[in-house]
Symmetry: C2
Subunit: 225 residues, 2 copies
DNA sequence: GTCTATAGACGGATAGAC
DNA sequence: GTCTATCCGTCTATAGAC
């Protein structure tokens, strides 16, 4: 194993992945050509096909690189909390923080490109039809099942069909917050001071989400039972 | 003004706009070619350039057609509420319903293509860099200013810098809910029964959002003042 | 592993007949 | 207003030299 022989390979792969995260985040998948991508990554045009096989395979590798550790961290954090709780039900607050924590960790990682990925991820949630959505769905299945069970214990009075909507809202708020922060701040007018203060953002999100999760459903005039 | 002469023009324009809403929603702007679009709309390939000038101009026309009436309705509804209130501050509930109502109205309009537009809109919020984002931002400026003022009155104890984040979360939840409902239901597993019951969705969203808006900010260990 | 060159398909836009 | 034919650029992917 020569040192000079394997390092460039990993460097090229990594440089492609990092650049792809940024460009896909900025311009979308269809909006980013392999020509621009490889030029921006300072690698050869043929390198993507050599290392990943195709553009689609690159996208899949890109998501797996970040999502596998992120969801593993989410489950590990929930495991840790439940062991510490020794049978006591967790609070919604704790569960929410365990879920959004790994996202915010990546969000703070501006230098390593984690922030690019997080924004790309939020963007991708709202893109239907693509095989990517199916891939993401698969990667999330175990995590979602795990968190749904935890929330059911934490919110025993929540009707069965209701919880799935609350999780949906929670999920949406998180995805959107991470993905579109700049857009809304542009719409609403906001100074870029603590825009990326992940700790404060975690507090803000947790306060908002926990209150929303706990809220009783106030129904207006209903027609039938 | 011959009857036969002007009707086909409007029909072609409308058919292009309706088809574009659906295809852009499904595949994105870059992912939808003029060839596929015109074929699907059963119009000639050159028709888009004849009627709109370019693909970009078509996109702008598409957004203006829906957003202008929608935001006008939002402002009109708030005006109406404030007149009825005769000086009393509105409740967050009322304000939230005034804001999300017009979206849900479009959401219910499956036949007229409103639902396609709503999902396209949610999708577009998370797409940075494009001129479309700037256009949308401009179209929203008056509405956002109006609602920010109303919420400041409704939530007098909310610190100044905090409200903008709550609005951000509210906005995100709405956008995401409308845009990605199918995705999350795919991830989380949910039956498609009352998926598009807008009335129930309004109740759910309002309960969730009002609780989140009102929630005090619970801060964890803080470093400095 | 990296590069150049190119194949082969598809993109938006338009000219000009009808 | 509608249509066909076409220009010209860009796309992904690959073959083959080094």
């Amino acid at each position: 194993m020569s040192l000079r022989a394997v390092k460039p390979q990993h460097e090229t792969r990594t440089r492609i992945l990092d650049t792809a995260e940024e460009l896909f985040m900025l311009h979308g998948f269809e909006g980013t050509s392999m020509r621009v991508l490889t030029a921006s990554a300072a690698v050869n045009l043929a390198a993507v096909n050599y290392h990943f096989g195709s553009k689609d395979a690159l996208i899949e590798a890109l998501f797996r690189r970040r999502l596998d550790p992120m969801n593993a961290a989410r489950i590990a954090e929930l495991d840790r909390l439940e062991i510490d709780a020794k049978g006591r039900a967790l609070s919604p607050d704790e569960i929410i923080r365990a879920f959004i924590g790994p996202s915010l960790l990546l969000m703070e990682d501006a230098k390593g490109g984690g922030r690019n990925f997080i924004r790309l991820l939020g963007r991708t949630y709202t893109e239907p039809t693509k095989p990517i959505r199916v891939l993401i769905g698969q990667l999330y299945v175990p995590t979602m099942a795990r968190y749904k069970a935890a929330l059911e214990r934490a919110l025993p009075h929540m009707p069965g069909g209701e919880l799935i909507w609350r999780m949906h809202f929670m999920f949406g708020t998180l995805a959107y917050t991470l993905a579109a922060t700049d857009t809304v701040q542009l719409i609403a007018g906001c100074k870029p001071e603590d825009r990326y203060d992940a700790r404060l953002l975690e507090d803000r999100l947790t306060s908002f989400l926990a209150a929303g999760l706990n809220a009783p459903l106030k129904q207006t005039v209903k027609k039938a039972a």
